[in-house]
Symmetry: C2
Subunit: 441 residues, 2 copies
């Protein structure tokens, strides 16, 4: 089918979540969950659009949106089929733009803008193929998958040949695992009970409800006050018993020494992992913490800027669980690289989700990993937070503590048209009524 | 003197340097050197303005400028004297903004925007004090200097007490070293001969001219083609003899293994250091390269995102020379932290310069380091490139291969008013005449 990319439309979408303290943690006391949203328009007769976004937490969502718009000249007028047939080439062209890369390189606002655009192109490709993204990816050949990956800066840890070997080993079992996935779904864990802004009573009630809903792991935010954390951890452990895993998440609050001391105080309550104990840039710091707090495990990744930092975290034995993010590294292609790195090092991937639409995106990546890369769900869980799903055209479905495999074509990235109007910042009705929006700037 | 900050003005300034291949290297073939420029306006009776900028190389300078403008709400209406008296507090407030930090954290476009604003505030403070910035900093007490630094994520490598010790040890010699600096200047090295786009003949002539001008170190760009690099390195060595240091700069072109192989081919020509051999995020990669290529030394820093990555490069023995950048990390305050880290680990700081105005800025930081931190010029050189100085109100002065100490008040950051008009993008006359500007987008 002939067609070219006509252009992109961008939207600054913000949800006033800070009004309710949903999403509050030790580093992010007042987030307004936001999407810097992009739609790719084509002139193909099927009129299919690609949708994608970067997730931010409020201020700066306009800067993020400007960065996405700055990528439009690289897209406009491109042959659509050729572009979708070579998304590895498209990724390299965007990431290695000789002038834009100066603004990173491969990190921050520009890299997240590339994530939004690359993910929107994958959404478009999957919709045109009539398949959910996880299935589209899991049906590519090992050679096609390796071609999506830029091995620059990775070859000391993972070569294209090693990546091919990993994918070929998983190939014979693909069909059986896809059937298993469609039958039973993929395990989730919930962060819903654990926000810092909640009362002890609410924590207790939400822990109980989580277990009743079938979750086998939940997560508490920690890091603001040690005595509070010990009390909340005790309450949660009392409430769920010894068999439910309780992870804790410090959201980068600590220095290396503080992290070690703090986690030792929580250790009697058997935390499953400690997440983001310190700066996401501190590979050596994570390694030191991991060594000191074992057998408690370290997890990190939602703020890891790119595959080069993940490579080092794996090389340094700095994490036990790798938490990829769908829209911080540069989209699907870079996450295929990260899944391959994790498989090479034998580290389970447990994606970061929550925010706006991150659950919708990462489910596809974890399911692709199960079917075609690691071939395992053992010790693997996808984060689940019950925020804002109602704004999506194809929201996640959780049943019995599991994500059900999406079956609609695309990347589940599309916001409802009315949401794009109502939550537009700063002029949508949610932000202008009562003048409340202005208070948040 | 009473006054408040009234607001900031931003300017997208671009120089069409790609037309001449000045500044071409293996990763940046066609840069248009650009400044995302900011002026801080106050209502104080002295009408002094603060000037600062982020340096970019063309596309995306508009996004960078939007990020600077996004910081205005944090500045507007602030008491001027109180703000300038507590730039440590101002830095923390900007860097740890609970919503904006999501876009980094502490890296990329938002962090560089903070650099521009923080540096502009220092320019303002130094102008009001009637002193060049290096001198203003070098006259602060050790306690005042430590108060500028955010030790978050650093305490496993450098504590406030250790920083105080370093500064107190340097205190008795400050006056003598300041006099020495004003007398003799600070050694420079030149990158002018070594751009990839130049012919062998031009390389030869520029090497000769550099030595004639008094430079004792020069630098060649490498990394695009090994045979070319061997030939160019041979030419340069022939031309300058054995006593002039020749550094090479790969601008992140290589993977770890390639870097090691390539540098071994250049080793017969005695390269002084190899700069940016691989990804600036790859601490472990730099450490592996450093170990493999010794006694050739590794230098890096111009793209190191923040103090946490510098901390690790030092902890891992991954570099022999630390090349701080004035406007990539978050300005003066973060560079004080980096100078202290380098002093703690005994690694010489040789700042990155060139671009637009980076020579003007970094001279102040290196001179402050000499007077009040490391107390030494041994093995230390400031990069010098002879581009675009004519656009500055207070350009650097090089004599006999040395930077002369600036004596005008401020941070030497101010562009000439006519430059702000002529090089404005996309509507200034440089970009609209002949329609040439549009060709570069």
């Amino acid at each position: 089918m002939a067609g070219t990319i006509r252009g992109i439309r961008t939207f600054d979408i913000r949800f006033p979540t800070s009004r309710e303290l949903d999403g509050s943690d030790a580093m992010n006391p007042d987030p307004d969950y936001s999407a810097s949203y992009v739609v790719i328009d084509t002139d193909a007769p099927d009129e299919v659009e690609g949708h994608g976004f970067a997730f931010t937490i409020g201020r700066g969502n306009d800067v993020q949106t400007a960065a996405i718009k700055a990528l439009e000249p690289a897209l406009i007028g491109r042959d659509l089929q050729h572009t979708l047939d070579d998304l590895g080439g498209m990724w390299r062209e965007l990431v290695h733009d000789s002038q834009l890369r100066w603004l990173g390189p491969e990190k921050g606002v520009v890299h997240m803008a590339i994530a939004a655009v690359i993910n929107a192109l994958w959404d478009l490709k999957a919709k045109r193929a009539g398949k959910p993204l996880w299935q589209l990816l899991a049906e590519l050949t090992p050679e096609q998958l390796v071609d999506l990956v830029d091995f620059r800066y990775l070859s000391d840890a993972l070569t294209p040949d090693e990546a091919l070997d990993i994918l070929r080993r998983a190939e014979p079992g693909r069909a059986a695992r896809a059937a298993e996935l469609c039958e039973g779904g993929y395990p989730a864990y919930t962060t819903t009970p654990g926000w810092l802004g909640y009362s002890d009573e609410k924590l207790r009630r939400l822990c109980r409800e989580a277990v009743d809903l079938g979750f086998r792991q939940l997560k508490l935010k920690v890091g603001a006050d040690l005595a509070d954390d010990v009390r909340r951890m005790r309450i949660a452990r009392e409430e769920v018993g010894p068999d439910i895993r309780i992870a804790v998440d410090a959201n980068q609050r600590w220095d290396v020494g503080t992290a070690i001391d703090w986690i030792r105080e929580l250790a009697p309550f058997d935390p499953w992992w400690v997440e983001e104990p310190t700066s996401p840039d501190d590979v050596l710091g994570h390694a030191a913490i991991a060594q000191a707090i074992a057998p408690v495990r370290v997890a990190t990744g939602e703020h890891v800027a790119n595959r080069v930092v993940f490579k080092q975290l794996l090389q340094a034995n700095a994490l036990s669980y790798l938490q990829l993010d769908a829209a911080r590294v540069a989209g699907v292609n870079e996450n295929v690289a990260i899944l391959l790195l994790a498989a090479k090092f034998g580290v389970p991937v447990c994606p970061h989700a929550g925010g706006v639409g991150l659950c919708e995106l990462v489910q596809h990546l974890a399911m692709f990993d199960f079917v075609a890369v690691s071939g395992s769900m053992e010790d693997r869980v996808i984060e689940y937070v019950d925020h804002l799903h109602e704004h999506f055209v194809d929201p996640v479905t959780i049943r019995g503590g599991n994500y059900l495999a999406p079956d609609r074509p695309g990347f589940s990235a599309q916001l409802r048209p009315e949401t794009l109007v109502e939550y537009a910042y700063p002029d949508g009705p949610v932000w202008t009524s009562n003048g409340r929006g202005r208070m948040h700037e």
